[in-house]
Amino acid sequence: MKLINKKSLGNKALAIAFFLPFFVLFTLFVLAPVVQSVFYSFTNYDLLKRNDFVGFNNYKQLFLNDEIFLLALKNTMVFACIAGPVSYILSFVMAWILNDMKGRTIFALAFYAPSITSGTAMAVIWTYFFSSDSYGLINNFLMNLGLISSPILWNQSVNLIMPVCIFIQIWMSMGTGFLVFMAGLQNANQELYEAGAIDGIKGRFAELFYITLPQMKPQLLFGAINTIAGSFGVFDVISSFAGFPSPNYAGHTLVAHVYDYAFVRYEMGYASAVSVILFLITFLFGKAVMFLLSSKDE
């Protein structure tokens, strides 16, 4: 009895030793800042002198007095609910098709290219495509065809900023999901396909639904959570395309609001409250996906 206890204690100690390096750094650089922000969301902390407890005041302000916040909330929801699913499905379909294609290494590189060249080259390509003068590739093309007479103001017109940014975000964010799914497909147990064939599962689509997808649940879940976090947390794409703040706040998102209050106005308490709201929404969607894709029912 004593021996077993000692052994299980030893196993626990070993598990903790393996986990500790990660957990120390994680706590220091990720967890502590998050906990701190949640705490700040109940204060009026301004980085300088004010740091009083204000209860739910920040949250009340957000929903009752801040129209820009409500606009950002709406924009973020629209953005995430379109860009998220489209990017997720497209990246899976591409991984699935490319996985047994000849020359997939080069195709996969080409598909991942937007993620590699983020930043400098990104800006160049999109300004080239969507430039708001007659030199922009798309404007030039449409004008030559005679479909429009004056250039479309892609990054200034209130109605166009969101659709164009959704398009760019999908295009830029597919790479990560794609690589995750490629790795997942390669981790799949090949013997199951032979076993499935004996049970009468034939054809690419039957194999996909009955063998591949159930096996890939862990990667599907990871991809989904990552896409949700990425599409609800969108800011960079919009701010580099339409500027910050965007014309008439047409592309204002929750993270843009956080950035505005944290680094322009230095109202950390208020910015933290926006972050907590964003976190709660994202978490709700994440939990729903976890419920749908939980691997326990196997």
Binding site: N11, K12, L14, A15, I16, F18, F19, P21, F22, F23, V24, L25, F26, F29, V30, L31, P33, V34, S37, L47, I97, M101, T105, F107, L109, A110, F111, A113, P114, S115, T117, S118, G119, T120, M122, V124, I125, Y128, Y135, N140, W171, M174, L179, V180, M182, A183, Q186, Q190, G203, P218, Q219, I225, N226, V255, S275, F279, T282, F283, G286, S295
Partner: protein, 293 residues
């Protein structure tokens, strides 16, 4: 039975059946891939453009009269500064390689511990880690700066490495693959008398090769392209990394610098492409090998 639409192509005796749907799929993939590879093609093409093509407005996509001038300009533009260009490259390589290695080791042993060992409060810890993935990273900048500053790590390589290696993204990613590892493999190794470290290095790590190779790509790309952390943590010129050095070449302004900038961008993309290709090949090799076992 599925009926396939298709036709036969005859080369003398040889006859190949080609399905219409397969051709359509290939065409679609090629079209999409041409589109997504545009930035990469643009970076390569631009690096070899002569000055007049670089400054052309509207810009031209493909180089017409390729030249090596830009690389000479880059050497020239950076030779006047006190820090040689090579130093930035070495800084970037060191920081990225160290970040990648530390991330892989720390995340995979932690994931193994959470999935297969007797770690207490497994579910709570896992939920906590995944939850942080959904918090805006913007707000972590200031607290992270405070920690690095208080640890006395400003202007050190560690300032660029430490905050990145224990992220929720990498841990969650590796953990999902670890879930797929059959317990029977581990039991067999333990019965053969392997200790937990041997089980990890001989069984777990090889099994997770596709995961780790993929995580190498994610981590390397993120660290290599990061132009933000060096601005926060680094004040000495000699400690700066490639993306920051490139930005200052760009902002130095004069038109002649456009060429140096294009060449610099090209140089900064090459290692990522190399790492990517190398790692993807490893992933594919693993698959061929796991088919046998």
């Amino acid at each position: 039975m599925r009926v396939r639409q298709g036709f036969h192509i005859h080369f003398g005796k040889l006859s190949i059946r080609v399905s219409v749907s397969r051709i359509l799929v290939y065409l679609l993939v090629i079209l999409l891939v041409c589109f997504t590879s545009l930035p990469l093609i643009y970076v390569v093409s631009t690096a070899f453009k002569p000055l007049d093509e670089l400054l052309r407005f509207p810009p031209i996509f493909f180089v017409r009269k390729p030249t090596m001038d830009n690389f000479r300009d880059l050497l020239f533009a950076t030779s006047s500064s006190s820090v040689p260009f090579l130093r930035y490259v070495v800084n970037s390589i060191f920081v990225s390689v160290a970040t990648v290695l530390a991330t892989i080791i720390i995340s995979s042993i932690a994931a193994y511990s959470l999935v297969k060992l007797e770690l207490p409060f497994k579910n709570a810890i896992f939920n906590l880690i995944v939850a942080t993935l959904m918090f805006p990273a913007t707000l972590m900048t200031i607290p992270n700066y405070m920690v690095i500053n208080n640890l006395g790590l400003m202007d050190s390589y560690l300032a660029l490495i430490l905050p990145k290696i224990a992220g929720a993204f990498g841990f969650f990613f590796v953990k999902q693959f670890c879930d797929q590892l059959p317990d029977a493999f581990l039991e067999a190794a333990r019965l053969d008398g392997a200790n937990e470290w041997q089980v990890f290095t001989k069984i777990v790590f090889p099994f997770m090769k596709p995961a780790c190779s993929t995580l190498v790509v994610f981590t390397f790309v993120a660290s290599w392209n990061d132009a933000f952390s060096p601005i926060v943590y680094i004040t000495q010129d000699a400690m700066r990394t490639l993306p920051v050095a490139l930005q200052s070449i760009g902002t130095a302004g004069t038109l002649a610098r456009a060429g140096a900038m294009a060449a610099g961008t090209f140089i900064s993309v090459v290692p990522t492409v190399l790492i990517y290709t190398l790692m993807q090949r490893r992933v594919i090799e693993t698959m061929a090998y796991s088919g046998i076992k």
